[in-house]
């Protein structure tokens, strides 16, 4: 039921997530933050049962914190962070899976550009990992992926990216059965 939308722009990424917390026909709250900041330069948008959202994001962020304390000055790149998340999901799959569909977005310094570059990874609960320019988790993908397919291009500014996310949310408002009155939006950049 959750909608997670992620868009990469020139110099960073933004992730938007609906803020509903619901089970069956009951909505518990309209202000749940489903985008965890797992590292100083990385955000993880998660969709799934509340318990798994929390247990997975906290496990990842605390392990990343331990790594940064044990290895001062060596920040894990977004790619390494994504590999770590994937590995965690893949190992848990055959034991007790984390039922989370996620979008990982991060910022890394880059020799090619002063503003650095953003990268986005699509990670599903079975541990498939794919680097993408944009992505959507949840039913929302059926509606809004076509918007992104049409409107995303290389070299977007942050404002343009936000506008595109806005367009996605409008499509959901119009055509998606579930009412999602509020969205949270976060970005990872310099």
């Amino acid at each position: 039921m959750d909608s997670i939308i992620g868009v990469k722009y020139n110099g960073g990424v933004i992730i938007a997530a609906d803020s509903n917390n619901a089970r069956s026909i009951l909505v518990y709250q309209h202000n749940l933050d489903k985008i965890a900041q797992i590292a100083p330069n990385a955000i993880l948008g998660l969709s799934g049962p509340n318990a798994d959202l929390v247990s997975f994001s906290e496990y990842i962020s605390k392990n990343l914190k331990l790594y940064s304390l044990s290895n001062p000055g060596q920040d894990l790149s977004t790619k390494a962070t994504a590999s770590f998340c994937r590995n965690t999901l893949a190992v848990a799959l055959r034991k007790g899976p984390y039922q989370v569909q996620t979008l990982l977005g991060g910022w890394d310094a880059s020799p090619a550009s002063e503003d650095g570059e953003g990268s986005m990874y699509f990670l599903d609960y079975m541990g498939s990992l794919q680097k993408v320019n944009y992505g959507i988790q949840g039913y929302a993908s059926n509606f809004a992926l076509s918007v992104l397919d049409r409107e995303w291009k290389e070299g977007l500014t942050k404002e343009e990216a936000i506008k595109i996310v806005d367009n996605c949310i409008n499509v959901l408002d119009t055509r998606f059965l579930i009412s999602q009155p509020t969205f949270t939006i976060k970005s990872a950049s310099k």
Binding site: N71, G73, Q74, S77, K79, A80, S83, N87
Partner: protein
């Protein structure tokens, strides 16, 4: 008398020393020398191959230098059988990291893991320490080319240039004078190789050594990322030994 506190690794002596660890360090001072040099364009590991008998089969790959991962190599001084276990452990840890993070394990982390492993044999289990020291040469994107030295106590330190094994003190004092002489700058690999051979000549017992007594290894950064490993062939080693001899003669005549 220290004797009563010698036998167990896991006991301090009244003076606060771990004798077994110290004896392990002694064992390495009888082993073939290893020299490590950080150069402006790479890293050199130069080792002495102690040939104990003419009947020994010629070395197929390396006797002293071992690859841990695509970005990390080490040379051994001490008990080869002990080293073999630790090398296997280092390779396993490096691959585990690569499996989990999708990126090569940073060199200092490999060194720390192995040293923690060595340290555990000085604190519990009632087992003796590993009788070998390593020179780790590796590359990572955080600190570039790095050289580390480890010993049986599980201590390690980073170096620009260092020597382990037999006569390491004379080797080190030679390097103190010759490496980065008068702040002229650290040598490039070509000069570094000659310096390493000169250093080994100083630490080796005999003189007039043939190329089979030296094992020379170079690690260089590759275009487009990663590193290349090169163990010099017998001919290339001979070239360097000859050059060093020439230069030595020229300096003596001058």
């Amino acid at each position: 008398m220290a004797r009563r506190y010698d036998s167990s690794t896991t006991t301090f002596s009244p003076e606060g020393r771990l004798h077994q660890v110290e004896y392990a360090i002694e064992a390495i001072n009888n082993a073939g020398t290893c020299v490590g040099l950080r150069c402006s364009d790479g890293l050199i590991l130069a080792s002495e191959r102690k040939v104990t008998s003419k009947l020994l089969a010629p070395v197929k790959t390396s006797e002293k230098t071992y690859k841990i991962s695509d970005e990390c190599v080490l040379s051994v001084a001490g008990l080869s059988s002990d080293a073999s276990i630790l090398i296997g452990q280092a390779r396993l840890e490096a691959q585990r990291y690569l499996y989990q993070y999708g990126e090569p394990m940073p060199v200092e982390q490999i060194v720390t893991q192995i040293c923690n492993y060595k340290q555990s044999y000085t604190q519990y289990g009632g087992l003796r320490p590993f009788g070998c020291a390593f020179l780790f040469a590796g590359y990572d994107t955080f600190h570039g080319m790095q050289l580390y030295q480890t010993d049986p106590s599980g201590n390690f330190s980073g170096w620009q240039a260092t020597v382990i094994g037999a006569n390491n003190s004379s080797g080190k004092s030679f390097l103190k004078n010759e490496y980065n002489k008068d702040d002229a700058g650290i040598p490039d690999v070509n000069s570094g190789l000659k310096l390493a051979v000169k250093c080994l000549n100083k630490t080796m017992d005999s003189s007039g050594n043939g190329p089979e007594k030296y094992e020379l290894f170079v690690m260089r950064e590759k275009e487009g990322g990663g590193v290349e490993h090169k163990t010099l062939t017998k001919e290339e080693v001979k070239e360097i030994i000859d050059k060093v001899e020439e230069e030595g003669k020229a300096a003596a005549d001058a």
